[in-house]
């Protein structure tokens, strides 16, 4: 119970801070919508192949915007010395980590909630034509991204190059998330048999479960002084 209290306290702090400053979500949202718009130049307007690539464009916009937001979110923790202060608190350290991961998840989810409708209008696709299952894809994909992204953003802000390290470390590791999220989403966009998507969802769920456990096991070791 105390564990969950710690997580919710950190999430509350981050959400309050974000409601006051609006720095992270707004910049991420602008960037993700901009990515969706700019990527439209890769095909002719009204092209036949449009539907095969738009799912990938949507996910890449989340990944790029997510990396931007993760860096921003962790930089503001580190520059004020808040992160070190949190680690000194007499609470379980992995609870601090999962608090940060949940806040990052919420921020990315906010961006998705606004970007997806705009995306559907701009590209004239209805990803929810076969029910609400794509929500599960977004949930699982974003969760895995947030868990690993939060860990790697802690690592990257501690390097000399700061933000540069995060995409270099994160992108190759999250290849399974990008691949299975895009493939699962494409099934709904192209109107294929929704049963095919379950395989990708299982892979996403397995990825999330494995790395939740691994990060839980590793985090205590890597932040202790």
């Amino acid at each position: 119970m105390k564990y969950l209290n710690t997580i919710s306290a950190i999430v509350r702090k981050d959400v309050l801070h974000e409601l006051k400053s609006r720095e992270i979500v707004v910049s991420m949202l602008l960037f993700s919508v901009l990515t969706v718009v700019v990527f439209s130049f890769i095909f002719e307007p009204g092209s036949q192949f449009k539907n095969e690539v738009v799912g990938g464009i949507l996910w890449m916009s989340f990944v790029f915007a997510g990396i931007l937001g993760l860096n921003k979110s962790m930089m503001s923790e580190v520059t004020g010395g808040n992160f070190s202060a949190l680690l000194l608190a007499p609470v379980d350290r992995s609870a601090i980590f999962f608090g940060k991961a949940v806040s990052n998840f919420i921020f990315i989810a906010m961006v998705e909630i606004f970007t997806i409708p705009l995306f559907m209008v701009l590209y004239n696709v209805n990803i929810f034509a076969y029910g609400a299952m794509p929500v599960v894809i977004f949930f699982l994909g974003t969760y895995g991204f947030a868990i690993l992204g939060t860990l790697f953003s802690i690592i990257s802000v501690n390097t000399r190059t700061r933000e540069v390290m995060l995409p270099l470390l994160l992108l190759p590791i999250i290849v399974p998330i990008i691949l299975s999220s895009v493939q699962a989403l494409n099934i709904y966009i192209l109107g294929h048999d929704p049963a095919d998507a379950s395989k990708w969802l299982q892979l996403l769920a397995a990825f999330d479960a494995i790395f939740t456990v691994v990060v839980f096991a590793v985090f205590d070791f890597i932040v202790e002084d």
Binding site: L169, I173, P176, D225
Partner: protein, 222 residues
């Protein structure tokens, strides 16, 4: 230690010369592919060593986190560096072999793609090490990447394999029936490269330990 080093150096040189003999003289010429198939022996052996080296990094990253002994960190670092060198050899010899046989330099086959992703993961690992000043933080963060990166590899492989089976127009690798003499030459190449790996590891770990000692001296006097 010195004696072991010398023994491994000489053994590696002799075994690689013998490995060249095994590949070019002993093993029969492939009927369809011809001489270009000879690259197979070194390609497979490099791939084997690359995966083994990253496994060593994984094991010693865990050991470092548990025991906090910096020698384990030196071993993890050294093995990752040697691993990425062999991984680079795999990625260079692969296309040289693929071009005349498959007609293309590159296909998005699961093994190829996974090896490329693997290369990027450990390139990130090595870059990360260069960009952190404090030895303690560097070792811990690098260990996290060493562990997560290695666990990720089979998941990457399976996801890419599923992806490719959905699009079936992939060039399939003609596997299976290997001539027994070719198999011998391949196993010999793996043995030769394993000894080379051991010889290089011994040197590289020594360099890492010495570098760490010099850093410590600099901190005490600076």
């Amino acid at each position: 230690m010195k004696k072991l080093q010398k023994f491994l150096d000489i053994a590696a040189i002799l075994l690689i010369v013998a490995g060249l003999y095994m590949a070019f003289m002993f093993a029969p010429m492939e009927r369809v592919m011809g001489a270009v198939q000879k690259i197979f022996y070194f390609h497979v052996a490099s791939a084997w060593i690359a995966f083994f080296a990253f496994f060593v990094t994984f094991v010693f990253s865990i050991l470092f986190l548990v025991k906090q002994n910096f020698l384990f960190d030196d071993i993890a670092e050294s093995s990752a560096e040697i691993g990425i060198m062999f991984c680079t050899i795999v990625l260079i010899t692969g296309p040289i072999w693929a071009r005349p046989i498959w007609g293309v330099w590159w296909t998005w086959d699961p093994r190829l793609t996974t090896t490329t992703i693997l290369w990027f993961i450990y390139a990130g690992y090595i870059m990360l090490r260069k960009f952190i000043e404090e030895a303690d933080k560097r070792a811990k963060f690098a260990a996290a990447i060493g562990i997560i990166g290695f666990i990720d590899v089979p998941i990457v492989f399976f996801s890419i394999r599923w992806w490719r089976t959905i699009h079936p127009n992939v060039v399939q690798k003609g596997g299976g029936g290997l001539h027994p003499d070719m198999l011998k030459a391949m196993l010999f190449a793996i043995l030769a490269f394993s000894v080379l790996y051991a010889a290089m590891m011994l040197k590289r770990v020594r360099i890492a330990s010495l570098a760490r000692r010099i850093d410590a001296l600099g901190e005490n006097n600076g």
